[in-house]
């Protein structure tokens, strides 16, 4: 660079949104009854999914210490030479966590896809009653 750094230009582009705003989702924006019902259904399905995903995690986190507390003999159990606690907390837990994560992401995206379809149907002229 012999001619000095190029002049800096501040770029303030438009929002990165592929599709232009369409009026058909105004129901949700304007907090109409229909919009509120639609959002409520999405929130409920996502919350249910969150519960289903976190329940095994909570059971694991609550159960493992409790099991070792109630049955201290577990600390002496060996599996293939490894103490049980080491096998579970040092290794097996990670595939378990990743598995829950993958399960959640798939389901959450499906829920959102369903919601997008629902909005599409609800906002058609005629309220989605046409065939």
């Amino acid at each position: 660079m012999t001619e000095g750094p190029p002049e800096r230009v501040r770029v303030t582009g438009p929002a990165r949104r592929a599709a232009p705003r369409r009026p058909r989702t105004s129901e949700i924006d304007e907090q109409t009854l229909l919009g509120s019902v639609l959002l409520g259904s999405l929130l409920r399905s996502q919350l249910r999914l969150a519960f289903v995903t976190l329940l095994p995690l909570a059971a694991f986190a609550a159960g493992v210490p409790l099991a070792f507390h109630l049955a201290p003999g577990l600390a002496d159990v060996r599996v293939l030479g490894l103490p049980l606690a080491w096998l579970v907390l040092g290794g097996l837990v990670y595939p378990f966590l990743v598995g829950l994560g993958v399960f959640y992401v798939r389901r959450a995206e499906r829920n959102e896809g369903d919601f997008a379809e629902l909005v599409e149907i609800a906002e058609r002229p005629g309220g989605g009653l046409e065939p």
Partner: protein
């Protein structure tokens, strides 16, 4: 083992590579948005590596192995919790947080609750948690420099602080993203290759079982018990640790700020999923060092076991080279976590302190970075050594008691009010903060009083949640009028076109 030449070269190489990648990233940093959130265009694979690089601090790289060596299986909950924290974050926070469109945690708080006071409280908390987390990073860097190359302790802290400052000031978030991604893979390599060699040595020695070894720390079956010292207190401490780590991750400022760099909510989720995998792979390794340390590390210091074990197990040049590799990884751990935290704190300081002074965005950000690094840097030189994993654990407890309820209730419950949020955060902060002050001043960890104060999360988190809900209920009239619109924005997938104003 002081002053080993390969270790000196390793530290210099990591420093140079960090600065070089940061400078290279500078070519892409143009706007204020680049500095704060890399203009929100970072793809999941790169962003996940960056999150992993930023998240795996000295506590993960050095602390876990030492704790496992001394205390055994109960310390395995630290890496488990640090990973599970991302699952909780993925499920409850990731996509809505990205869709909220805010830059920082205080931005989110203000947008959700329409209250400058909640914003101010959140800003203070970000700075407090950030500094609490930065302090042990700087101190740990001094420890590593001393153990690896025989440098005085202050030198490590100063080197890390200066490198971080240069990188953050020059390129902001955009250049740091490349640095962090590089450092995840560096840290993984730096633990993986020596681990494979050391396991080979161990098998060659007839694979003595670490659980039967007489090495320092807890004896026999206590070492295999994932419950602290056992008994009801041990159970409480374990649960408290689990609560703090599982719920604290989402409230760490340097973690949260990363989510705004995703292009959209869907990408935020996929990024988090990849992070889970990356962390899972990494955290298989530190316990290996802890276990081998029990067999071979008779006279190693637990704090720097990872650095000393290669030379204890492999004599000669081989050991020196492996030690240099782990030293490089440890240094990368300090640099990356400190950079991420500094960015997060600098973002808040510049917006809420210097932004008011009407400085231009980038100048304010750079000034903020100086403050963000200088204060904990000076504290690290002045304060006594607090132990990396311990201080980091307290930062998690504070985050879990304050930002976790704010985020979870703010995202999923329409009824949250500004007064409720303030009251809940205050209660959570006082509860966990008392624990911090107590733990920093006291070494003793016996008895119920010490357990309840030293690991406050198990009571301070539920208390903060309850306070937020009860006070919000009592001030029902203060629910912001735009709440439904905001919730729509948080939860509606990008495929549905909305006014996201």
């Amino acid at each position: 083992m002081n002053g080993s030449a390969p270790s000196v070269v390793a530290v210099v190489l990591v420093t140079v590579a960090t600065l070089a990648i940061g400078t290279w990233g500078l070519r892409f940093s143009r706007t204020t948005s680049d500095f704060f959130v890399a203009s929100r265009t970072v793809r999941p694979a790169l962003n996940a590596s960056a999150i992993g690089g930023e998240y795996l601090s000295a506590a993960s790289f050095l602390g876990v192995a030492g704790l496992v060596l001394v205390f055994g299986a109960d310390m395995l909950w630290y890496p488990v919790g640090w990973t599970a924290g991302y699952l909780v974050l993925l499920v409850l926070v990731a996509a809505p947080l990205r869709r909220s469109g805010a830059y920082t945690l205080p931005d989110f708080a203000e947008a959700r609750l329409a209250s400058p006071r909640v914003r101010a409280a959140s800003s203070l908390l970000v700075v407090a948690i950030g500094w609490l987390y930065l302090l042990p990073q700087f101190q740990g860097a001094g420890l590593v420099m001393e153990a690896a190359i025989g440098a005085p302790q202050w030198l490590g802290a100063v080197v890390v602080a200066v490198v971080v400052l240069v990188n953050v000031i020059s390129g902001g978030m955009r250049s740091i993203t490349f640095v962090q991604a590089f450092q995840y893979w560096l840290k993984l390599t730096a633990l993986l290759i020596p681990a494979i060699v050391l396991l080979g040595v161990w098998v060659g020695d007839g694979a003595p079982n670490p659980a039967d070894a007489a090495g320092g720390g807890d004896e026999g079956s206590l070492w295999s018990l994932p419950l602290g010292s056992g008994g009801a207190e041990g159970l409480y401490l374990t649960y408290s640790l689990i609560v703090a780590t599982f719920l604290g991750t989402m409230g760490l400022p340097h973690v949260v700020v990363r989510f705004y760099t995703n292009p959209d909510g869907r990408a935020a989720r996929r990024t988090t999923m990849v992070v889970l995998g990356l962390l899972g792979i990494f955290y298989l390794l530190p316990p290996v060092y802890g276990a081998l340390g029990r067999v071979y590390g008779g006279d190693a210091r637990p704090d720097v076991l990872v650095l000393e074990l290669p030379q204890l197990m492999v004599p000669g040049t081989g050991g020196d080279l492996l030690a240099a590799l782990v030293t490089a990884g440890a240094f990368a751990a300090f640099l990356s976590t400190s950079s991420g935290l500094s960015i997060a704190v600098a973002g808040v300081v510049s917006q809420d302190v210097f932004g008011r002074a009407r400085l231009p965005g980038i100048t304010a950000f750079r000034l903020g970075a100086v403050v963000a690094v200088a204060v904990p840097g000076l504290l690290a030189l002045a304060a006594p050594n607090v132990g990396v994993a311990r201080a980091v654990g307290l930062a998690f407890a504070v985050a879990a008691s304050t930002f976790c309820p704010l985020l979870v209730l703010g995202i999923w419950w329409r009824g949250l009010t500004d007064v409720g949020a303030l009251a809940g955060m205050a209660v959570g902060f006082l509860g966990s903060g008392t624990g911090v002050v107590y733990a920093l001043g006291n070494e003793q960890t016996l008895g119920w009083g010490a357990a309840l104060l030293g690991q406050p999360a198990a009571w301070s988190v539920p208390l903060a949640f309850a306070t937020m809900v009860v006070v919000s209920r009592a001030t029902r009239g203060r629910v912001p009028p735009h709440v439904l619109r905001f919730m729509v924005r948080l939860h509606t997938p990008e495929a549905v076109a909305l006014d996201r104003g």
